[in-house]
């Protein structure tokens, strides 16, 4: 009784677990139950039950309600799909002027809007692509094909690679100094020499369109949310879901609305990249000291002047960090959106992975990572750069970078011209053609083969052991949980952590998944994510704590985390496929590597955030290193480390879903299938929401706990 009074929470948790296990043992597995492989539920089968809701027929295998809830939301994907099609094809037909046929044509409004948007995006992408690679579409868009035929001088070639490389080096110099400039120059030269110029520039042009547009939209929405509480409240749930929504899932509805190609990819990238921009804009504007705003007001600023002359320049750094985030999202989307036909490195990467040509995949992946790191470093340098004063410089000093670029332009063009005379077949000083550059693909492929031949037995043994001894039992355990027991466990945890409010939120999220047709799949996703998260946390926590013991290793580790985080998520699949082939093990190892980044980072940051005064106080009371770590640093850093756990879960979920590309049997597999299904939009979106909700359940529980704990500890 004493004990019970002392630790009431502990006993509540024990009680919850007892109820959970009691339910698990009380409810038997129905004899007819089996995990549905492939897409069996879409095939008609006399054993299935049906119901009709809103005119949509839903088919499913019925079980005891305690074992699995019936998919009462099964109509939702069909309904979403039908509504989308109705919107696109039948809603509000209107007369629109058609340029090509010179007559009015009847078209549904939404279709017209999306087509116009598409045309606009295509125009922008083509414009940049033609500056970098040459082409005629943009000039033709302003004139006509006949005009081009009459004026052959307008057929300008793209910029020679020498100019682009030197130009990026100059820009890098301006933003971040000599080191960054050298890196920029080398990276660009590498890309050119290894024959990846064209796909790289295609990817770059895609990013140069998607990133600025996302920036503009994110900034405006962030400002709107800052100005009006109502806008913020309306945006908040969307931002929340978008943070945990796998990027795959958004692709499917976009496919229906915007078709296939670079333009659709840009639009979808914007949808994914805008939310973090909004959040960081809001964060930055909120952080402007109130006295600065008052000073602006007292200087007689009207609202417009206050926003653009006081608030935004003062919040500059946070907003530019937002730009950095946008660029990173764009890169990961540059690969993922290759699924809906975006050209460039991402497309080559996917193609190579599909053909199991690890060497080619590695080259493409390396290039995309190089550009990503370069742009990441450049945008960060921009964010951290202090404004310099130019007032007292002369014309040459002020414009030396542009003058220098002009000089480079001339030299580059001259070089390209001499090149065209000197090289008979290909002008290497203009552009190194794809496949004509140096290729290391064979080397890598041979390396992979060698690893496979040499270590095959060991890898195979490890693989079998992991799958048979660990993964399959774990998966069976997850699937063995009756739906009711799971819901009781999750809702109970919500209640114990955050009270009735949290319990209700979590209950709603869980019920959505339970009532969707994919509960079993969601369990598999959760099992893979759980496995990944547990291992990642153990590794990240240990590595983080060890590295924290020394200042240099701390800095080194944070840098490593930075660089790893810059890699587009797909790149992680390359080495694991190299070593483990196409198995669940590959996916899980990719998940573990990817999710270890936030686990490590947050551990280090958490430990670092412990006030130095406390550190000194502990030392002065004569603690040993271990005592300090366990009595002072861990308890105080724990809330922050839990936020890291939160991030680890989100990262793991993302990677599990992407792992569907290798072949898993979870929600991701269906999302991938929905991509190639004409009627897949509804399914894809609903699946995406399911994944997002899994993430949000954990997010809600962890955040509530962290907030309470932080309040309790009095840290913020």
């Amino acid at each position: 009784m004493e004990l019970f009074k002392k630790y009431p929470k502990l006993f509540q948790w024990i009680f919850l677990l007892i109820v959970f296990f009691a339910l698990c043992f009380a409810i038997d597995v129905p004899e007819t139950y089996k995990f549905i492989r492939g897409q069996a539920e879409f095939v008609k089968d006399p054993n299935q039950s049906t119901f009709v809701f809103l005119g949509k027929e839903v088919r499913y295998y019925a079980f005891d309600v305690f074992w699995r809830l019936p998919p009462l939301l099964g109509w939702l994907p069909i309904w979403i799909n039908d509504s989308l099609f109705f919107l696109m094809n039948d809603w509000m037909p209107m007369e629109f002027w058609n340029e090509d046929t010179q007559e009015y044509k009847t078209r549904p409004l939404v279709l017209q809007i999306t087509r116009n948007l598409t045309a606009f995006m295509t125009f922008l992408i083509e414009l940049i692509r033609e500056i970098l690679l040459g082409g005629l579409e943009t000039i033709v868009a302003f004139t006509s094909w006949d005009w081009i035929d009459a004026n052959p001088w307008a057929e300008l070639p793209g910029l020679p690679w020498t100019i682009v490389a030197a130009g990026s080096a100059i820009l890098a110099y301006k933003l971040g100094g000599r080191g960054l400039a050298i890196f920029a120059g080398l990276a660009m030269t590498y890309i050119s020499i290894f024959g990846q110029w064209k796909p790289s520039m295609q990817t770059l042009s895609f990013i140069l369109v998607a990133a600025p547009l996302s920036f503009i939209f994110g900034l405006s929405l962030g400002i709107a949310a800052f100005k009006s509480k109502r806008v913020e409240k309306a945006l908040y749930p969307i931002l929340l879901v978008m943070q945990t929504m796998p990027q795959y899932a958004v692709l499917v509805p976009a496919l229906v609305l915007f078709g296939v190609g670079d333009h659709a990819a840009v639009i979808i990238t914007m949808i994914v990249a805008v939310p973090p921009m909004i959040l960081l804009t809001l964060l930055g504007l909120r952080a402007v000291p109130p006295e600065v705003i008052e000073a602006g007001r007292m200087s007689g600023c009207n609202n417009w002047q206050l926003m653009f002359k006081v608030l935004i320049p003062t919040a500059r750094r946070d907003i530019l960090i937002g730009v950095n985030q946008v660029i990173m999202v764009c890169f990961s989307m540059a690969v993922i959106s290759a699924f809906i036909g975006a050209k460039g490195l991402g497309f080559n990467l996917l193609l190579a992975l599909n053909q199991l040509n690890i060497g080619l995949a590695l080259e493409a992946g390396l290039c995309i990572s190089l550009i990503a790191i370069l742009l990441d470093k450049m945008s960060l340098a921009w964010a951290n750069k202090q404004v310099d004063y130019f007032g007292n410089l002369n014309f040459f000093q002020r414009n030396k970078n542009s003058l220098f670029f002009g000089l480079i332009m001339i030299v580059g063009i001259a070089l390209a011209y001499f090149g065209s005379i000197y090289f008979k077949e290909y002008n290497y000083l203009f552009e190194v053609p794809h496949n004509k550059g140096i290729s290391t693909a064979d080397f890598w492929n041979k390396g992979v083969d060698w690893i496979f031949d040499t270590f095959f037995v060991y890898i195979k043994a490890f693989n079998t052991w992991l799958i048979v001894e660990v993964l399959q039992p774990m998966r069976a355990l997850y699937l063995r949980m009756p739906a009711i027991a799971t819901i009781v466990l999750v809702v109970g945890a919500g209640y114990l952590i955050g009270g009735i409010r949290s319990a209700l939120v979590v209950c709603g999220l869980t019920l959505f998944i339970a009532l969707s047709p994919w509960w079993d799949r969601a369990l598999v996703t959760t099992y893979m994510a759980t496995f990944g998260v547990i291992v990642s946390c153990i590794i990240g926590f240990t590595v983080g704590t060890l590295c924290f013991q020394n200042k240099h290793s701390t800095k080194f580790m944070l840098n490593v985390c930075d660089i790893f985080q810059t890699f587009p998520s797909f790149v992680y699949l390359i080495p694991v496929m190299m070593l483990f082939g196409i198995t669940d093990t590959s996916v899980l190892i990719a998940v573990i590597v990817y999710a270890t980044i936030p686990a490590t980072r947050y551990t280090i940051e958490g430990l670092r955030s412990v006030p130095s005064g406390l550190h000194d106080a502990a030392t002065m009371s004569g603690v040993t290193k271990f005592q300090r770590l366990f009595k002072i640093e861990f308890p105080l850093a724990f809330p922050h480390m839990m936020l890291g756990l939160n991030q680890t879960i989100v990262f793991a979920l993302f990677m599990v879903i992407i792992g569907a590309f290798i072949g898993t049997e979870d929600l991701g597999q269906y999302i991938l299938k929905a991509l190639s299904d004409k009627k897949g939009a509804g399914i894809g979106l609903t699946l995406g929401i399911c994944v997002a909700f899994i993430g949000l359940i954990f997010d809600n529980l962890i955040r509530t706990w962290v907030d309470k704990r932080k309040k309790h500890l009095g840290i913020d």
Binding site: P289, E291, V292, E294, A295, R297, M298, S299, G300, C301, N302, Q305, K309, V310, P313, T314, R316, Q386, V387, Y389, G391, N392
Partner: protein, 343 residues
């Protein structure tokens, strides 16, 4: 006497959701406790006063006393919940947004405790900012701003960024910026509180020098009683949103109105605050010595001279007329007597 520049008539500022209805129901009898029970916090409670042209009113109070809130009501950075505020006869609370912006662009300047400089602009650009907001072109605004840079003694540093300056220098920029539009009314919200004691004293002297030259109408907020005594023409002492006493420094020291005010005055070295005029006898006796002192001298400066006299000393005004007399014992009484411990 001419129209006061700032005039407040029972100004209230109450934070909370039902502030306005509660204020109406209270009928001018606001009790902070009952308001707090209903979820409202009283910031300013029935403040009425006037500031006339060229006068410096120092509002002094500890943190949470409502002094900054009062200032923000008068600059309309927050809207007062009740009462009336007039700026040069204009009803401030009835101004529309455009008129308010106009007023701020031309009549008001404000200095902030945390300097509140724009981090992306240089010193001279920061100072030119209010001018440019007004619509003055870059060249002219920079020229005017340069004059201000010289006025506050920052020449040579005009192209520095705020991050490159010390706290005292940053506040000089803040002062120059608030003066750039040549406002009539100058608000200073604890301008020197964030500075080191030595720099603070230097800045106070600098501030007095400026005020002598510029003769602005000033509301100066501080939590430092000594600073208030040093600078003020009149001091308003605030506690819990209420102005406890509003009077000249000398009167506050000599006749504290409430127990709360008296506590502040206890530790004050009177000889540094009081003028001869404040303690002299306005009658003149026959028995007068050769020494004459001006009535506007601070006691400290002439105490030694007076104390060496055996006879009563004559007090003269600016025109050398004798207006009163002072006895050395009076000086001793003022400096050492009249305090709690000695009574």
């Amino acid at each position: 006497m001419s129209e006061p520049v700032i005039k407040c008539e029972s100004v209230y500022k109450i934070f909370g959701e039902n502030a306005e209805t509660m204020l109406k129901e209270a009928n001018g009898n606001v009790d902070a406790k009952t308001f707090q029970e209903n979820g409202c916090i009283v910031g300013v409670n029935n403040a009425s006063f006037e500031v006339s042209k060229g006068e410096m009113l120092v509002v002094m109070g500890l943190s949470g006393s409502g002094k900054s809130t009062l200032l923000r009501c008068i600059s309309r950075l927050t809207d007062a919940t009740g009462g009336k505020i007039f700026i040069e006869g204009q009803d401030l609370l009835n101004l529309n947004n455009k008129e308010l912006i106009d007023l701020r662009r031309n009549k008001m300047g404000m200095v902030f405790q945390s300097f509140a400089l724009l981090p992306h602009k240089t010193v001279v650009e920061n100072i030119a900012f209010p001018l440019q907001i007004k619509g003055i072109n870059t060249e002219e605004s920079i020229k005017k701003a340069m004059n201000m840079v010289k006025l506050v003694g920052l020449d040579g540093r005009e192209n520095y960024f705020p991050r490159e300056l010390s706290g005292g220098q940053q506040q000089r920029v803040g002062i120059a910026r608030s003066l750039a539009v040549e406002p009539d009314i100058w608000f200073l919200d604890e301008p020197f509180s964030a500075l080191d004691p030595l720099i603070r004293k230097e800045m106070q002297d600098e501030f007095l020098r400026l005020q002598e030259k510029l003769q602005k109408t000033i509301m100066f907020i501080t939590h430092d009683f000594d600073e208030a005594l040093k600078l003020a023409d009149r001091i308003a002492i605030m506690k819990d949103g209420i102005i406890e006493q509003l009077d000249t420094p000398a009167n506050i020291v000599l006749n504290p109105a409430t127990e709360y005010v008296r506590k502040f005055t206890e530790e004050v070295p009177r000889e540094k605050v009081l003028l001869i005029e404040d303690v002299m006898d306005s009658t003149t006796t026959e028995d007068i010595g050769d020494l004459k002192v001006s009535k506007d001298e601070i006691i400290e400066n002439v105490a030694e001279k007076i104390l060496t006299q055996e006879k009563t000393v004559a007090v003269i005004d600016n025109n050398n007329n004798i207006v009163g007399s002072i006895n050395p014992t009076k000086i001793i009484n003022t400096v050492f007597g009249g305090r709690k411990n000695n009574n």
